[in-house]
């Protein structure tokens, strides 16, 4: 009999990560590291034009290069006939263009692939690709979303007859979850005790920029074709490859080895994955594709890119009476795997933490000749949170109410949970007061307001601005029935299996697929606690469809809130299966057994057997009860009954240099309620990284296009990720109201920082410069834009044409001319 000696509870412990040892010593398995004997390499020839007919492709010179194995156009591979999948047809009559793996007759964005070279080395493939001559007949690009929707606009896909992908509407009056927003706003227009505030906000186009460029290796030589890919979704990819290419699903194995970041950017069935597969099958040889960073910025999907028109009606004492949201969302040239649904996720989040009696959400998705957009960290929820949190500040200004006070007058109080919102979601738990109180204290809100006032009075060059964001999000995607009601093409369950090994160790096979989250550590903590075995005795297996055959992968802060619960359920089943065997071993009745700390004990005695003893007993199988199988392994699938709703209060102070427009972060405090914390170290890390990405949207990042449809941020010189020197240390903390819809009480944390931080920063920047008459500044609030906004408002701007400068951050292409700096001096 084994004595179990594990007094420490793993859940809640700041365990250092299991994953680290390999990663800090360079012992890694990135897809591009794959080296198989006979491996061939491909290079893809891409269109320099946003919109053009392909008149001809001359591959003859490329074919002559020594070491070139093949040169193929779309037709040679059948790549133009492929229809890459979109799994989220948001309406029955949604317009969806065919999305080929390589363009055949026409290219629809700059960067679209038109041919592929296969060679002994990547260098030879690239050299030969340079020799391919493509004859293009240029067409007009389609760049401006509002122009694209007008009658007579140039069509991206003439065969669709429109640039509109779909319109999706939610109206709480029609849904019965609230009143009519149109009526509420019309009534407010006429009422003396109400005001109506209308604003337009721009969500600029971003690029996820995972650090590991995408890479795919396909080996067709075995009975099962094997694809290694830098993907977040090996399971979905496997099924989609089978469906898209007509392959028997049992003949495909997908492996996501070490994956270097994703942030939504690796939720895709990428054309390059399909091309690599087609080439490998054609040649019967293993083939690798690895992108350059420029290819990645140009062709991996982008995110955000919305025009938001918001209308709020509110009583003069600060109670919101209606909210109308009208969005236009840029899909780019095609529909990605879940692209059309991304802005629709926002429909449930614009009402945020507030009690809004009447709400309407109306989103029109539009095609342009740009890189397609799809999920990027937060996916629809950062856009919604930005819209409503910017709006709360605007309403506060309009009414002369302190911005936090306005929020308090409208948010759901902690006594009111569970609370069903106007957009029909039921928030199970939360305590906005607690998170806010703690954040305000950590931030020294009153002290910073005093300092702000002093600097204003002194007329300091560096003015202080303070911004608030009180947010919630829906995560743990997702209850399958909800996804069904939204016409999503799959469910939202997750699966885990536990294999008990003869020596008492456990292998846990999970369907979620990590790319930096620390799954192996956090999940080991959960299973160690549930089975009562040591942390180091648990191995988490993931990312290979041969071992993990069932899963829906990682996105939407679901790995813990959904996948983690599947592990709990599987562990419960292991214990349930082990119980009759333990009873048999102890010659006791099952009813007299209790399982604690890894041991089945006979109540009232000191007799007991450990779970490891039972694992060995069923391995030997010499003596076990009749009628049951000698096996305590278990498999469980968890379909959540609800989303989880983390929330938090984020406070940002910035210094704005009024002479240069430079914005420096001064202080950042956030208190997030993510329910039960499994590993505080990992939670803190997720918040830090999330904050950096949300702050980067506010201050640094943008993917603008010029007037011919060329991406202006095609390198990391131009797409300006923040460096360590740009950021500060954040003060983070947690409050906790455990979720009541899952047994661990967990919520999600992967996206929280990104969703919450952007409006806090922009609200802070505006708070610093409104005193000069600045009404709004589009993101990113670069020194150029801030300087121009201040000086335009003061009437001291230079030439007056600064916003037309064709440089990143100047807003060309993604903005209507001159709209990047909006001044309404005196309006506020």
């Amino acid at each position: 009999m084994t004595t179990m000696d594990r007094p420490v509870q793993e859940i809640g412990r700041d365990r250092r990560r299991k994953e680290d040892r390999r990663l800090i010593t360079g012992r890694t398995r990135w897809t591009d590291n794959q080296a198989i004997t006979g491996l061939l390499h491909i290079s893809i020839v891409r269109s320099p034009f946003a919109h053009a007919d392909i008149k001809g492709i001359d591959t003859s010179a490329a074919k002559q290069v020594p070491g070139v194995v093949g040169v193929y156009t779309a037709a040679d591979l059948g790549a133009d006939a492929v229809q890459l999948p979109c799994a989220w047809p948001i309406t029955k009559d949604m317009k969806a263009p065919q999305r080929p793996a390589l363009a055949g007759g026409r290219v629809n964005f700059a960067g679209e692939g038109v041919a592929v070279v296969v060679a002994r080395s990547a260098a030879i493939a690239k050299d030969a690709a340079e020799l391919i001559e493509v004859d293009y007949a240029e067409l007009d690009p389609v760049l401006d979303m509002e122009e694209a929707l007008k009658e007579g606009a140039t069509l991206v896909h003439p065969e669709l007859g429109t640039n509109e992908n779909a319109q999706w509407v939610f109206d709480s009056g029609e849904a019965g979850s609230g009143g009519s927003a149109a009526e509420a706003i019309a009534k407010a227009e006429k009422a003396d005790d109400q005001v109506v505030v209308r604003r337009r906000f721009r969500q600029q186009r971003l690029v996820p920029v995972f650090m590991e460029p995408r890479s795919t290796v396909v080996d067709p030589t075995g009975e099962q074709l094997v694809m290694w890919s830098s993907t977040q979704i090996p399971h979905i990819l496997k099924t989609m490859l089978a469906l898209t290419l007509g392959l028997p699903e049992n003949k495909v194995r997908v492996i996501a080895p070490d994956v270097g970041g994703g942030f939504g950017g690796k939720i895709a069935v990428a054309p390059e994955e399909v091309v690599t597969l087609l080439v490998a099958r054609k040649l019967g040889k293993p083939v690798k594709w690895t992108e350059t960073r420029s290819e990645s910025l140009l062709t991996a999907h982008h995110g955000r890119d919305q025009i938001q028109d918001l209308t709020v009606s509110v009583t003069r004492d600060g109670k919101i009476t209606g909210l109308d949201v009208k969005l236009i969302a840029d899909m780019g040239a095609y529909l990605g795997l879940v692209g059309p649904g991304v802005p629709i996720l926002g429909a449930f989040m614009f009402n945020a933490i507030y009690k809004i009696p009447a709400y309407r959400f109306d989103c029109t998705n539009v095609f342009t000749t740009k890189t397609l957009t799809d999920a990027y960290r937060g996916a629809g929820r950062p856009e919604a949170t930005f819209g409503i949190e910017r709006m709360m500040d605007e309403v506060a200004l309009e009414l002369g109410i302190e911005p936090m006070e306005l929020r308090k007058r409208n948010w759901i109080s902690h006594e009111e949970f569970p609370f069903t919102t106007v957009s029909t979601l039921t928030y199970d738990t939360g305590n906005y007061e607690a998170a806010t109180d703690q954040a305000m204290a950590m931030f020294d809100y009153a002290g910073l307001r005093r300092e702000q006032d002093e600097r204003r009075k002194r007329g300091d060059v560096k003015q202080l601005g303070i911004g608030i964001s009180t947010f919630t999000e829906m995560c743990g995607l997702a209850p399958s029935r909800v996804l069904g009601s939204l016409d999503y093409g799959a469910g939202g369950w997750e699966t885990a299996s536990i294999r008990m090994l003869p020596t008492g160790k456990a292998e846990v096979v999970v369907g979620v697929s990590p790319h930096g989250q620390g799954h192996e550590t956090a999940f080991s903590q959960i299973v160690a606690d549930k089975l009562g075995i040591p942390f180091d005795d648990v191995e988490i297996l993931h990312g290979d469809t041969q071992s993990s055959y069932r899963g829906l992968d990682t996105y939407g802060s679901r790995s813990l809130a959904v996948g983690g619960i599947a592990m709990v359920k599987a562990a419960e089943k292991v214990i349930e299966k082990a119980k009759p065997i333990a009873a048999h071993m102890l010659e006791a009745s099952e009813d007299d057994l209790e399982f604690t700390a890894g041991k089945f004990g006979v109540k009232g005695t000191d007799k007991g057997v450990g779970i490891a003893d039972v694992a060995l007993a069923v391995f030997a199988a010499h003596d076990y009860p009749e009628g049951i199988e000698p096996d305590i392994d278990a498999h469980a699938t968890f379909d959540p009954e609800n989303f989880s709703f983390p929330h938090g209060t984020h406070l940002c102070a910035v210094e704005v240099d009024t002479e240069t427009g430079f914005v420096q972060l001064h202080r950042y405090v956030c208190v997030d309620d993510v329910g039960t914390v499994i590993n505080p170290l990992i939670v803190e890390g997720q918040v830090h990284g999330g904050l950096a990405q949300g702050i980067a949207q506010a201050l640094y990042e943008e993917a603008p296009y010029d007037e011919s449809g060329t991406l202006l941020s095609g390198t990391l010189v131009d797409y300006t990720l923040p460096s360590a020197a740009d950021l500060i240390s954040f003060d983070t903390a947690n409050t906790s109201t455990p979720s009541t819809t899952n047994p661990l009480g967990v919520k999600g944390v992967g996206e929280a920082g990104t969703i919450a931080s952007t409006p806090a920063v922009v609200n802070a920047v505006l708070d610093a410069v409104r005193q000069y008459g600045v009404a709004d500044i589009d993101m990113p609030t670069t020194p150029f834009r801030v300087w121009t906004a201040i000086n335009s408002a003061k009437g001291t701007a230079g030439r007056g044409d600064e916003a037309n400068v064709a440089s990143p951050g100047a807003g060309l292409g993604s903005n209507v001319k001159d709209s990047s700096v909006k001044n309404q001096g005196g309006a506020l």
């Binding site: 994953e19 800090i24 360079g26 995972f210 590991e212 420029s294 620390g518 803190e684 360590a724």
Partner: protein, 172 residues
């Protein structure tokens, strides 16, 4: 083809390389040193940072032929007798990595930084690693790790393993 002779992580190699081959390609494709990775094509991200004769370089902006006669140290050569370099250990202790893709370059740059400045302030660390991009961590724990390593590497500090000159030397 040009003939080069280099010492990489303590082993001597002789190879014929194309004059245009980058050091990072040589390390990955010819020597199998896949611990060093490529993150961009414009020398912005620093994921490929190694030490060349004791100084950190982005190995995407050095030709393999330029390393002829030189000593190269990659992240794979930091461990000594199974013991992690203090900077590696500090990255683990402080949760300074998530996906880990930037980590080899970040560690090599941090070691170089500590060679120049054994006791950097937060601001000095931030500026010292600004040529290395990380998308996961927001840098906060990386900064912590570098400062933690600085304390552990101080002369007389407990448990600092003897590191070779090129590891500890930085800009020396």
């Amino acid at each position: 083809m040009a003939r080069i002779r280099t010492t990489v992580d303590g082993l001597v190699y002789e190879d014929d390389v194309e004059p245009r081959m980058l050091l990072v390609q040589y390390l990955r494709e010819r020597l199998g040193k896949t611990g060093t990775v490529i993150g961009c094509d414009t020398s912005n991200c620093g994921a490929c940072t190694v030490h060349l004769d004791g100084l950190s370089v982005k190995s995407c902006s050095v030709l393999a032929v330029q390393a002829n006669g030189s000593e190269v140290l990659t992240v794979e050569g930091l461990e000594r007798d199974g013991q992690l370099h203090p900077v590696q250990q500090a990255f683990h202790d402080n949760h300074a990595l998530q996906c880990g893709y930037c980590t080899p370059g970040m560690i090599m740059q941090s070691i170089d930084l500590l060679g120049d400045n054994p006791d950097p302030t937060e601001r000095e660390v931030r500026e010292g690693i600004e040529g290395n991009l990380c998308r996961c961590t927001g840098y906060q724990n990386i900064v912590r790790a570098v400062q933690d390593a600085a304390q552990k590497m101080k002369p007389g500090a407990h448990a600092a393993p003897q590191a070779p000159q090129s590891v500890a030397g930085g800009g020396a």
